[in-house]
């Protein structure tokens, strides 16, 4: 019995001890993401982008003369863990701002905490419109679902001149459902026709049944607004089922793994993205070079967004010349024409980024720039 209560006490003490306050010589920034569990790859990539930004800034002398330190918490992909880690970041670690999450579901769970405590939160890639509606301390540096859905609908209708679309969406992913909905709206408004609409669940590996159905509907292209984790396999299986029409998608496609998994089947497919690696701007080229040097792999869109979110924050700290919540908030809100890797970012009234999207084509295993679509 005694040993047990001691063990219990030890646990309690450990928790208490684990709350350490950032020193005066440091600026504490919080990050929360899914770094273990089924969606671990998203959280890890984003964190790496954030880390790179911090290391670069620190090398250049930090911000306001102080070094930046990151506190990164894993939420295992669970919304309740996301909320709890933000509570801890804000209340126990006293971070001045929070970066995260990728998934809108977890951003939605955590945003009220940041809002209530008046600590700015910048989501790198939560695209659901609801996220920033949680309050005036919640920002994002990515575009939102309606915009991206629109981009691809217009591209397909105007540039590719296709009239018959099929959709294959991920019913478990809010992002995918959102994109599909807005794509459908715009495409039909333009005069196109949706001939088939099928669903899958992220984590699935077999999409043949859905593809067989879509094939029989005779679409001119298939819109697959999912993550690269599934799209590579979908492209493969589409070819195996004798589907030769192109696939279209969104920024969730952007990863080197897409081409390695999808292989030749990915050729001739299109997706919208924040940026293109062909962009000659030094921000982009340096980012790619440094990321590869630091982490040994090519960055994906999530890493780029994480990198931008962190840099938008640091710029704002610099402009605000303060780390106090309200001042910092105002400075972030005033972000204008920020030269991000993922585009030129201006935050609008709704605290969403307005930036242009690019459409890329998969060609010879590379993502080739096709056109830029402005909001």
């Amino acid at each position: 019995m005694k040993i047990l209560s001691k063990f219990f006490l030890l646990c309690a003490i450990l928790t208490l001890v684990s709350c350490n306050k950032g020193g005066d010589d440091k600026i504490m920034v919080g990050y929360f993401g899914s770094m273990t569990g089924a969606e671990a790859t998203f959280g890890v990539s984003t964190r790496d982008g954030v880390l790179l930004a911090i290391e670069e800034w620190n090398k250049a002398g930090g911000v306001l003369g102080k070094q930046i330190e990151i506190k990164a918490y894993d939420n295992q992909g669970k919304p309740e863990e996301a909320r709890l880690s933000v509570e801890k970041l804000i209340n126990a670690d006293n971070v001045i701002a929070v970066l995260g999450e990728v998934a809108s579901t977890r951003s939605l769970a955590a945003a009220p905490v940041a809002q209530q405590n008046k600590v700015p939160m910048i989501s790198p890639s939560s695209t659901n419109p609801l996220v920033t509606q949680k309050g005036d301390y919640i920002f994002r540096v990515c575009f939102i679902d309606p915009f991206q859905g629109e981009v691809m609908a217009k591209f397909a209708f105007n540039s590719l001149k296709k009239k018959k679309a099929a959709i294959l969406r991920d019913s478990k992913s809010d992002y995918s459902m959102g994109l599909a909905t807005y794509f459908e709206k715009t495409f039909t408004a333009l005069g196109g026709e949706i001939v088939g609409d099928e669903k899958y669940v992220s984590g699935d590996v077999d999409f043949k049944a859905q593809l067989t159905n879509l094939k029989s509907k005779g679409p001119e292209f298939i819109f697959v607004p999912g993550y690269y984790t599934e799209v590579g396999l979908i492209a493969r299986q589409a070819k195996e089922q004798g589907i030769s029409v192109p696939l279209l998608g969104g920024d969730g496609w952007d990863s080197p793994e897409l081409v390695s998994i999808g292989g030749k089947s990915m050729e001739g497919n299109f997706f919208s993205n924040h940026y293109t690696t062909e962009d000659p701007r030094p921000e982009v080229q340096n980012f790619i070079k440094n990321y590869e040097a630091r982490f040994g792999s090519r960055p994906n869109a999530l890493a780029a967004s994480g990198y931008d979110a962190a840099r938008v924050l640091f710029e704002a700290i610099k402009r605000a010349n303060s780390v106090e919540g309200p001042k910092l908030r105002d400075a972030i809100a005033a972000t204008k024409e920020f030269q991000g890797v993922t585009g030129i970012i201006t935050l609008n009234e709704q605290r969403d980024a307005t930036k242009s999207a690019v459409v890329l084509e998969v060609k010879d295993g590379q993502f080739k720039y096709l056109e830029t679509v402005n909001p």
């Binding site: 770094m35 273990t36 569990g37 089924a38 671990a40 790859t41 890890v44 990539s45 019913s171 099928e198 669903k199 899958y200 669940v201 984590g203 699935d204 590996v205 077999d206 043949k208 049944a209 859905q210 067989t212 159905n213 094939k215 029989s216 984790t229 590579g232 396999l233 493969r236 070819k239 195996e240 089922q241 004798g242 793994e257 390695s260 998994i261 292989g263």
Partner: protein, 300 residues
């Protein structure tokens, strides 16, 4: 009609993947009466062993049958090693413990392999190289068959026959069946229970390893959590066919693959997993012995 044929082909292919995993599952269950939750994760380990072997030792190899066989053998050894470690350190100390304790241990081992896998292999999905030459076969009427589908189907069928032989025609099989009947009695009549169980684990785990590589060939995207769902599905398949029954596992797996594909094709893929669980519930409630479970003698 063409669509139906295509769905059927796809369902058979999916079912034969489940069958590969279910065979090992049912072997271990047959002997230990243990739902080896970690089986799906041993299967995952097989995939990764195969992947790293290819990366390190034959990075630029041309797809060929020989390559595939070599990779499969290596993965089998890798998985069997993990299986042996698990049996020796996690399951053996609990041989006489209540079944619930063993089940919980199995869940723990499964979580350990999944999250340990994320630490070791990284969480991101990785590409499994094409090692098996493949061909698209156009059956006419817009129906396609992939050579991989045929290969996997044949492999699972052959393995089923091999296991069937092993269980019913060999000395070892007799010992297995004796243990399955009663561990104590088997002990009393001089069967080295630990040895037989260990060998069963080696066979079951190496089957999982082989399945892992074939899975990588069929769905070339692998990550440390890939074993979770196929593991559960394989269990469902094994229950459907009559758990502990080798033929039953394959039939159950094929039926599950077909029904999942039909549901995804004709109703909605969102309910695909729900269907699998519904099958599990219905079988356990209405016919707990499974489709082939009545003949006690066939139990492994």
């Amino acid at each position: 009609m063409n669509e139906f044929i295509q769905h059927t082909i796809n369902g058979l292919a999916l079912g034969s993947i489940y069958a590969l995993v279910a065979l090992g599952y049912t072997m271990v269950f047959g002997v230990l009466q243990l739902i080896n939750f970690a089986h799906g994760d041993i299967f995952m380990v097989g995939s990764f062993v195969g992947l790293y072997f290819i990366r390190w030792f034959m990075p630029n190899v041309e797809p060929s049958l020989l390559t595939t066989i070599i990779v499969i053998l290596v993965a089998m050894v890798g998985s069997a090693t993990v299986g042996v470690i698990i049996e020796k350190f996690a399951y053996r100390p609990l041989r006489k413990a209540p079944r619930i304790n063993i089940l919980i241990t199995a869940i723990g081992v499964s979580l350990l392999l999944e999250y340990g896998g994320q630490l070791i292999f990284g969480a991101s999905p990785q590409f499994f190289p094409d090692i098996l030459p493949r061909k698209q076969i156009d059956l006419g009427g817009a129906i396609y068959l992939d050579s991989n589908q045929v290969t996997i189907f044949l492999v699972s069928f052959v393995l089923m026959l091999v296991l069937q032989f092993l269980v019913f025609k060999t000395q070892f099989g007799r010992a297995m069946r004796a243990i399955s009947h009663s561990l104590e009695t088997a002990n009393l009549i001089g069967i080295n229970v630990n040895k037989v169980i260990l060998i069963t684990f080696i066979i079951g785990s190496s089957l999982a390893g082989a399945a892992g590589v074939l899975y990588g060939v069929a769905y070339p995207k692998i990550d440390p959590l890939l074993g979770l769902l196929p593991g559960l599905k394989a269990f469902i398949a094994a229950v459907l066919g009559g758990i502990g029954n080798v033929t039953g596992a394959v039939i159950g797996a094929i039926l599950l693959g077909l029904s999942e594909t039909y549901v995804a094709g004709y109703i909605s893929s969102t309910y695909r997993d729900a269907l699998a669980f519904l099958i599990l519930i219905l079988v356990l409630l209405l016919r707990p012995a499974g489709l082939l479970g009545t003949k006690k003698i066939e139990k492994v």
